[in-house]
Subunit: 225 residues, 2 copies
DNA sequence: ACACAGCCACTTGGCGACAAGTTACGATGA
DNA sequence: TCATCGTAACTTGTCGCCAAGTGGCTGTGT
């Protein structure tokens, strides 16, 4: 059943119809439909009623070095990609134990989420969420919507050297809003990288970040040296 | 539609029936079925005809530090997990450009794949594939099936200090055989970590490894320091 | 000979009815 | 009173028909 997937229809377009595949492999059409639906949800094909199913052109994966020494912006520009960042929102979040603990905040403090999406060559590739406490940056509520680069914002407030502490990587699937933002289907896994950015000089936690990468667009270099 | 997922039925058992959910949310049964099927393929629920759908008990994620300094075996035993390794196969592979290049082999050389599965507390968690050239280890064909630990095997052949070069991380979905080996459903993403293990003293490439982790069972610590 | 319109064969999308499996409850008989 | 069998009311699984959309082919009129 799933063998249909890898059967080198590597051409850019056109698939046999559901009935053809059903006859060819001797399985009911529903089975073929289910398999094709899975392929569509993973983003490999798309379908048009009345016309047929077509393979999407394969997108090349961008190799990304997962180190916190330089910002995402600098990484991509060093690699020669056309990067664009758009602000999605800047709003106060509800209490979240893990985030508040990372930022050394109590339940009485306010924490703001600055969300932005990263576009490479016009395609959305990642969502970057920065959690910042009002305690550390009192003007975040008003300044947040104008932030272009978090690192630049921190430098403006007197922080010069940055470091990352514990960095965790896990896999999730996109919510419906994340599907819209990343223009991907529901079964495209996302790689979530969670980390705290600290001021290397004082040790203060500046932000807690959650970055969601489209797993089909990136390959991660996690070389340890 | 997908909101059904997170709707805190966090109890260990029992979901409303398809018809109930369809009436409740005012959508056709097929839509509910599609959503539930996705949940089943992701491994969150299971269904029994005539009985109903049930939530699986949530499995805790194991935190794994992705450094190549110590072996997977040592990592897990240090963390206090009951680890068991079973050999799956040891066989010669067809020519693969990337693997052969990593091992500094030409198309005339033979390369063997040593596959083993890792069990933690009796549950399969990862598949470990080691690619070894006959050029480097002439006895691999006969000794391969008896290997318990690759590192121990390399030490036996005079290699004492190990290092990793470029380590790449990417996401894939399990093939049908991988689904069987890992006892997981088709939509559970796998994390593939690819790396070369080299002799730190001589610089020789000992093996090229591909490790497939169940992404729902692990959380990865990729802290850089 | 050419243009246009309608029909038909093909595609995917969707819905409804029925099949299969399980459980609970009640009727019936000893 | 208790056991057993049958039926009915659920559950999920499956199949097939029909609707909707597209494109090509053919017939007909100018």
């Amino acid at each position: 059943m799933e063998k249909i997937a890898s059967k080198k229809f590597s051409a850019g377009e056109k698939l046999p119809s559901e009935n053809k595949l059903a006859d060819r492999y001797g399985v009911p059409r529903m089975t073929v439909r289910a398999a094709l639906t899975r392929l569509e949800e993973r983003g490999y094909i798309y379908s048009k009623q009345g016309k047929g199913r077509f393979l999407k052109e394969e997108s090349t994966q961008i190799q990304l070095h997962l180190t916190g020494k330089i910002s995402f912006t600098e990484k991509m520009e060093q690699a020669g990609y056309d990067l664009e960042t758009r602000l999605i929102s800047c709003e106060k979040i509800r209490y979240d134990e893990k985030i508040y603990k990372s930022l050394a905040c109590g339940s009485g403090d306010s924490v703001y989420k600055v969300s932005r999406s990263r576009f490479i060559d016009g395609q959305p590739m990642a969502i970057h969420k920065s959690f910042v406490s009002e305690k550390m940056f009192p003007e975040i509520k008003t300044e947040g919507p104008d932030i272009r680069s978090m690192f630049a914002y921190y430098r403006k407030h007197g922080h010069t050297e940055f470091a990352n502490n514990k960095t965790l990587l896990s896999i999730s699937f996109p919510t419906s809003t994340e599907q819209q933002l990343l223009q991907c289907k529901s079964m495209v896994p996302l790689i979530m990288v969670e980390s705290d950015c600290i001021d290397a000089a004082t040790g203060d936690v500046l932000e807690h970040t959650k970055i969601l990468y489209r797993s089909d667009k990136f390959k991660y270099d996690i070389t340890m040296d």
